[in-house]
């Protein structure tokens, strides 16, 4: 029997009981709608996290200094000073490394313009904006020359500008860090909060040499930021750094840690992925319930149309023809329900995005998955009723009142 003719017969049978067809579809509509809605929300959240992580710099590797162990007491990562500026310079020579910056951090009370503010003071190399994927909004970044000359130059973040120079252009002004006057030569573009809720714009960046020798007196750096040439080079660069530092430190134990943004991203997105699985699980349950609804209605339909089945068999329909007819009907029900559910879920996520300003993304793959699985549910739930219909005896079916 032709598929097109079967579809027409199925369409007619479903139109005959519009309300019933709609109610039957409702289970699938809700199930698929829930799948699409929840997937849109969680992938929106995941995408946001990914965007944030890539805003830290996509192919960035961070080398943290090691842990400090004193007797039985073990400090956390970074508690022992093990990384030096020389390490940084050595890392810069590794293949596929495009930028490095030794990082020293300190919280300081800074003064300017008759106001004061407690902020993070970072010592970095001029590569810092490139590594962090961060642009300079106005002014310039300090240069290698500034690093060599321990220049008292500073680049400040948006929050610091807001706090210390509410109505003024900060460039060319002086900011005092531990009473040392630093000349503000640039302002960083606003970057917002990071994954851990820290205000990334609340920062003053100075040459690391100035930080290490003028503001503080230290010989070790907190960590080293490394940018690899591309995503694929990350692993090899990471291994090279580990080998290099092990050799340089002449230590049997690894007194540092190498992490990349990818790992960070995986850790952070794990939560939203778990949430997504939970929601998808709930949605799957409602899909199963929807499938049972379809099976139920198809069984009723087979009983109601016993006579029709008899007529069709009398004029030459084979068992397979009847089976296909009812299967197509069930699949049509579930596929239409699935399509409505997909549209509903997308509308829902659009509304959420529009009114709650949550990021939502409806992945195309999930639309396909939702449609195919609703069709599969139609086949599974329609099979038993269709098989029952096809096994009817034409004589009995014709006599059925």
């Amino acid at each position: 029997m032709r598929i097109f003719a079967s579809l027409r017969i199925a369409g007619r049978a479903l139109r005959r009981n519009k309300m019933r067809s709609l109610l039957t579809m409702l289970g699938i509509i809700i199930g698929v709608g829930a799948v699409i809605g929840s997937v849109s929300l969680t992938s929106g959240a995941t995408k946001q996290v990914e965007d944030q992580v890539s805003s830290l710099g996509e192919s960035v590797i961070t080398v943290f200094s090691g842990n400090f162990t004193s007797g039985a007491m073990r400090g956390g990562w970074g508690s022992a000073p093990t990384l030096t500026v020389e390490d940084t310079k050595a890392i810069a020579g590794i293949k596929n490394v495009v930028a490095v910056s030794p990082e020293v951090r300190d919280r300081e009370q800074v003064l300017a313009n008759g106001l004061n503010w407690n902020t993070q003071v970072m010592g970095e190399s001029p590569d810092y904006p490139q590594i962090r994927n961060w642009s300079i909004a106005s002014g310039t970044m300090f240069s290698d020359q500034d690093v060599r000359s321990l220049a008292k130059s500073a680049v400040i973040g948006k929050t610091v500008v807001d706090q210390l120079f509410p109505n003024e252009n900060p460039i060319g002004q002086t900011i005092r860090i531990r009473n040392l006057p630093f000349l503000i030569i640039g302002v960083l573009a606003p970057k917002g909060f990071n994954l851990f809720g820290q205000d990334q714009d609340d920062v003053v960046v100075v040459p690391y040499t100035s930080h290490m020798h003028r503001i503080t007196t230290r010989t070790f750096v907190n960590d080293i930021l490394v940018e690899a040439a591309n995503d694929t080079a990350i692993d090899s660069v990471q291994n090279d750094i580990t080998d290099l530092l092990l050799t340089r430190h002449r230590s049997k134990e690894q007194d540092f840690t190498v992490r990349n943004q990818l790992e960070l991203m995986q850790a952070v997105t794990a939560t939203s992925r778990a949430m997504g699985f939970l929601l998808a699980g709930v949605a799957a349950v409602s899909l199963v319930v929807g499938g049972i609804g379809i099976m139920n209605i198809m069984l009723v339909s087979v009983t109601e149309r016993t006579r029709e089945i008899g007529i069709r068999m009398a004029v030459g329909a084979r068992a397979a023809d009847i089976l296909v007819q009812f299967l197509i009907e069930a699949v049509t029900l579930s596929a239409i329900g699935g399509s409505i559910g997909i549209l509903g879920g997308m509308t829902f996520s659009w509304l959420i995005a529009h009114f709650r300003h949550w990021p939502t993304v409806t992945p195309f793959g999930w639309i396909v998955i939702a449609f195919v699985s609703s069709a599969v549910i139609g086949v599974i739930s329609g099979f038993y009723p269709a098989w029952k219909a096809s096994k009817l005896d034409p004589i009995d079916a014709l006599r059925y009142e």
Partner: protein
């Protein structure tokens, strides 16, 4: 092979096993029906005529004996093979018309062609259905649904549906059972016309009046043929209809 006969039954038996009692519905029927015949199978209820009809119609298989339809022994065929036989060789007409409701006359007539073994192009299906409706005088009512048609018209649609696959045999089970006498005569007129064109027709009826429009009467009792004779005083539907109309006119004048 029995090519000269459309139907050849040889000692056909049908026994139903219902619980502990075996019901012998048909006990040894032998019958030959040639091309172009118009046969009425008669009998009271329980005579086995419905069971015989089901077997002739390839809806059921005999439990004993042989049945050749158009030269094919169908007593041993599978369910699907029987379906194919019903589709290609037999046109069915039922007492209750058995049209699909909320489906136009045209689509009802097209329905058997959906199940043809060899696919028929959509436009050819359309043409053949239209032609079959034309043949039974319902050309202009093709778009009407069964509930918009009278009983006689519905039965005509059923006849068109039976004819659409150009069967070797037209099988009618009490085709006039649900119709008033005038419409019954009209339907018998359609059958007579089709028979004149060479179509073999077998019908089951319990009305002697109706059987007199056929050419041959087979009477069953207790699962056996008791009478098999040519209809001597055959009625012509056209003449009977004319007579009936005259009588009605007379009543109106009086």
């Amino acid at each position: 092979m029995q090519t000269n006969h459309v139907i050849k039954l040889e000692e056909v038996h049908k026994t139903y096993h219902t619980g502990e009692v075996d019901v012998h519905a048909v006990r040894g029927v032998s019958l030959e029906i040639g091309a172009g015949e118009f046969v009425a199978i008669m009998g009271s209820s329980g005579s086995g005529k419905s069971t015989l009809m089901n077997m002739i119609g390839a809806l059921d298989r005999p439990t004993g004996g042989h049945y050749w339809l158009d030269g094919i022994d169908i007593s041993t065929l599978s369910r699907d093979a029987l379906a194919e036989i019903r589709n290609e060789k037999i046109g069915f007409i039922f007492q209750g018309f058995n049209l699909l409701s909320r489906t136009s006359a045209h689509e009802n007539v097209e329905m058997p062609m959906l199940y043809n073994h060899q696919r028929i192009a959509a436009h050819e299906q359309h043409e053949r259905a239209a032609h079959a409706l034309e043949l039974v005088g319902l050309g202009e009512r093709a778009d009407h649904h069964p509930n918009q048609l009278s009983g006689g018209q519905q039965q005509r649609v059923a006849i068109a549906r039976a004819l659409v696959n150009r069967p070797a045999l037209l099988l009618a089970d009490e085709p006039t059972g649900n119709l008033d006498s005038q419409t019954s005569i009209e339907i018998m007129g359609v059958f007579q016309k089709l028979n004149d064109q060479g179509i073999t027709i077998i019908m089951v009826t319990h009305e002697l009046d109706i059987a007199r429009y056929t050419k041959r009467m087979v009477i069953l009792r207790d699962g056996k043929i008791v009478t098999d004779e040519t209809v001597a005083d055959r009625l012509n539907a056209e003449q009977e209809l004319a007579k009936l109309k005259q009588a009605q006119k007379a009543v109106q004048l009086a």
